[in-house]
């Protein structure tokens, strides 16, 4: 048995005390295509970045062809024969394709002078290897389409004939034809005995292209399967998900009752913004939680933002308790009783330099006034104290800046802010992003409490299992439209079915 070209032994990595990778073992043979799959935050990109030399592992070894190496920089990774196409665009917009491809490894002549001829020739050769010999290599990258940028990134990675190639979500912006073309390219590279690590959210693609599928969950490898003809998507999806919510949540939801007779709180009719979502119709009742399921980029965040007033919509109507509303800005949405927990708490959910107290009360100051209408310190303290206690926010004091709290506790502060506001409709976009298991279940308990107190809740989570645990019904969104509604009492109200719908609709769009 030959030694694999890449062997990773017991690699761990944590960021700010969050474990991104825990004791991961991984191997890659020459001429093998291995897919890394997992939900967002499972640790795929972290593993890639360690192999790429972006940052070092905290523990563990990396062996190339049986030799122990420490990959301390992207340059070093490159010289060791590792080529990477990063998930985020890593091209310089103002430079041409050729200049980008040779950035950091320019060809020189007569001493320090750039050898444009050789660079352009090799650039054309590399592009024609990828089947894109017609690209104008003098064009600035800022004028390229998404696909062309992806091709340029791949050309950049394969320029130095690497032994190992990392492809981090290269197919994300591509359509079916382009993916097929790219797969041809990847198979060609495989024939040249290059070991390829392929990362994609599209499970079907991984089945088509890979020899082996490695599943990561919460920083650990939970499954390592050789792909054969009998393999189906569900074989990959089930280890991807695992158990993320404690069982007691499911007990809470047992007393589910029909929602039809309840009072309609929010009604959305034919809502479109012409781009991200189209013809959205639904009714949210009091004492109801509606889950939205779909892939990232399906338009759910935009839909939520438009209902609240953060974004605008083009056509359709929104009725709040039978009264038509049109929120042009977030403050109007809040006035009408619609609050939203946005998905990026660091960027638009919190003032991270401010204290826990300030962050909780910041949206409800008008309720916390004392004499002369001034903000009352006593009231802000007692209200924020109440929520810190109720939500079990772990903080040394109310005066702790939230930037020093853990992700889960930060998220609870955001939720506390909107609970204090006491809005009728609570919209929650990815409430558990980057939050550990325990905090997840606490956050969902809070949402259930909201429901029981007569509110209506809209929630999106990329983890369908979480939705299943708390929602009364789930609306599946694909490409900005509802494709299916599944009620809790339906026989197909289960994770495999919903995931199948989500993913199959994506492939329908692709094929």
């Amino acid at each position: 048995m030959t030694e694999p070209i890449l062997r990773i032994n017991g690699v761990s990595k944590s960021f700010y005390s969050v474990n991104a990778l825990k004791n991961v073992d991984f191997t890659l043979k020459a001429g093998e295509i291995v897919s890394l799959v997992g939900t967002n935050g499972a640790g795929k990109s972290t593993l890639c970045n360690i192999i790429a030399g972006i940052y070092p592992p905290d523990e563990g070894q990396i062996l190339l062809n049986g030799e122990l190496v420490s990959i301390s920089s992207p340059n070093m990774a490159e010289s060791l024969g590792i080529g990477i196409v990063h998930q985020e665009p890593t091209l310089v917009p103002r430079l041409s394709i050729a200049e980008n491809i040779f950035l950091g490894k320019e060809k020189l002549k007569n001493g320090p002078f750039l050898d444009f001829e050789v660079m352009k020739r090799e650039c054309r050769e590399t592009l024609s290897k990828l089947g894109h010999e017609n690209m104008d290599i003098n064009r600035p990258v800022s004028t390229l389409s998404l696909v062309e940028m992806e091709i340029a990134s791949i050309a950049k990675a394969v320029l130095l004939n690497p032994k190992i190639l990392l492809l981090d979500e290269v197919t994300a912006p591509l359509n079916y034809m382009e993916v097929n073309h790219l797969f041809k390219v990847i198979r060609d590279l495989k024939k040249q005995q290059i070991g390829i690590i392929f990362i994609s959210h599209k499970i079907k693609e991984t089945l088509v292209i890979s020899d082996r599928v490695v599943v990561l969950r919460d920083g650990k490898i939970v499954s390592d399967m050789v792909v054969d003809k009998k393999m189906e998507e569900k074989h990959i999806i089930s280890p991807m998900l695992g158990v993320t919510i404690t069982d007691d949540i499911e007990d809470v939801i047992k007393d589910y009752s029909e929602t039809e007779n309840r009072e309609v709180l929010l009604e959305v009719n034919d809502l479109s913004n012409g781009k991200d979502f189209h013809n959205i119709n639904f009714q949210l009742h009091r004492n109801e939680i509606i889950g939205f399921a779909g892939l990232k980029g399906a338009g759910i965040t935009e839909l939520f933002s438009s209902i609240q007033g953060i974004m605008r919509y083009k056509s359709g109507t929104i009725l709040m308790e039978d009264e038509q509303i049109f929120c042009k800005r977030p403050s109007e949405g809040l006035q009408k009783g619609i609050a939203m927990v946005t998905n990026d708490r660091q960027k638009d959910g919190l003032a991270t330099f401010l204290t826990v107290r300030d962050n909780i009360v910041i949206g409800s100051l008008e309720k916390l006034t004392g004499i002369l209408g001034l903000v009352s310190q006593t009231k802000t303290t007692s209200s924020s104290n109440e929520f810190v206690y109720k939500l079990d926010i772990k903080t040394p004091s109310l005066d702790q800046p939230v930037q020093f709290l853990s992700g889960g506790n930060q998220q609870k502060v955001v939720i506390a802010k909107w609970l204090l506001k006491n809005s009728q409709v609570l919209i929650v976009d990815e409430p558990t992003r980057g939050v550990d298991v325990k905090a997840k279940s606490e956050i969902y308990k809070l949402l259930l409490q909201q429901k029981d107190s007569g509110k209506g809740v809209l929630v999106y989570s990329p983890e369908v299992r979480e939705l299943i645990n708390i929602c009364d019904r789930i609306l599946i969104v694909s490409n900005g439209t509802f494709v299916e509604e599944i009620k809790r009492n339906s026989p197909v109200f289960n994770e495999p079915y919903i995931l199948d719908v989500i993913h199959s609709n994506v492939s329908i769009e692709v094929t």
Partner: protein, 342 residues
């Protein structure tokens, strides 16, 4: 049929849109030509050798600082010490040189204000100190991740204050030294040597940007730092290099200025960092980094100085000139708004 096509081609080649586009693309060049023509037509004094020499000398000083600032901006940094360094570097250099010579019993500053020797050492020290000022800003910038705007702002006050303290607020006169005014006043025809040096430096930098790795490094560092790092570019080093070069430009400008004035004034250069920034912006260098070219900066320095010069010939008070600078910057920036970056 064929003639029809060629007619259409001809028409489209010379269509107003195309000409407009061409002018829009080369607006600096056209304004420069327009200004020179205007200056010549409006007043004979404009083309007089004396006026041209003065004008080109000013272009050299402003232009050098602007080129330095442009390099900083290309790597998404700023250096606000360029003005203060023009006084600080020569004052500190003379203080050091004086102490070195004093150790061997030679007094190079007579009666505290009159420089009488040690020029080669002083010139070397001026350039060294001014480079070090830039390198220091750059090092603090990359080591601690503080914005260079803030570091250089603080540093600029530090240098200004130190200049006054070291010099006891006195001017240092250079007039005793033979040919000290060569750099600032010598000319070949109507072209001052200082202007030619500036032009040479500008052209060398443009060529370096275009034909060596230097340009790609700077553009990628400012254009998308993450991409540059992933490609193995040492962006930290290139930021320090850019700031160092801008320091060098300030040092050279100080030498030219002091040579012409035959003195070193602790107030010299004050505020010129903002002229440098203005010229770079007018020349099309983006404050966000990674966009613009030095040829734009070279032309913009001439455009700005000529406008100011024409106003001067007309006897408009300096406040009008200040207003004009403001107006030009706003016009230049509004052009950037009209043409959104793709």
């Amino acid at each position: 049929m064929q003639t029809e096509i060629s007619k259409r081609d001809l028409a489209s080649t010379f269509s107003i849109q195309r000409i407009g586009k061409f002018i829009g693309k080369n607006y600096l060049l056209f304004s420069l030509i327009l200004l020179i023509v205007a200056g010549t037509l409006v007043n004979d004094a404009f083309l007089s050798t004396a006026n041209l020499k003065g004008l080109l000398f000013t272009v050299a000083i402003y232009g050098l600082l602007a080129v330095g600032q442009s390099l900083n901006m290309l790597v998404s940094e700023l250096n606000l010490t360029l003005g203060a360094s023009m006084a600080f570097s020569p004052i500190l250099a003379i203080w050091i040189a004086r102490n070195i010579y004093a150790a061997s019993g030679v007094e190079i500053v007579r009666s505290g204000v009159q420089l009488v020797g040690g020029v080669p050492l002083i010139v070397f020290l001026v350039l060294l100190i001014s480079v070090l000022v830039g390198v220091t800003i750059g090092s603090i910038r990359v080591k601690f991740g503080v914005s260079s705007l803030i570091i250089s702002l603080g540093m600029s006050y530090l240098l200004q204050g130190s200049s006054y303290i070291i010099s006891n607020s006195n001017l240092i006169y250079l007039s005793e030294i033979k040919n000290i005014n060569w750099l600032g006043t010598a000319a070949i025809g109507p072209f001052p040597v200082s202007f030619l040096i500036f032009l040479l430096i500008g052209i060398v930098l443009i060529l370096l940007m275009k034909y060596t790795r230097f340009g790609l490094r700077l553009y990628s560092t400012g254009g998308n730092e993450k991409a540059a790092v992933y490609s193995g570019v040492n962006t930290k080093m290139w930021k320090i290099i850019a700031l160092g070069i801008s320091g060098f430009c300030a040092g050279l400008a100080a030498l030219m200025y002091s040579s012409r004035m035959e003195s070193i004034d602790p107030i010299q250069g004050e505020g010129l960092q903002f002229y440098a920034l203005s010229i770079a912006i007018i020349g099309g260098i983006s404050v966000a980094g990674g966009k613009g070219s030095l040829s734009g900066t070279l032309m913009a320095s001439a455009v700005l100085v000529i406008i100011l010069n024409i106003m001067q010939i007309f006897g408009l008070a300096s406040w009008y000139q200040t207003i004009m600078i403001g107006a030009i910057i706003l016009i230049a920036s509004s052009q950037a708004i009209r043409k959104p970056a793709r």
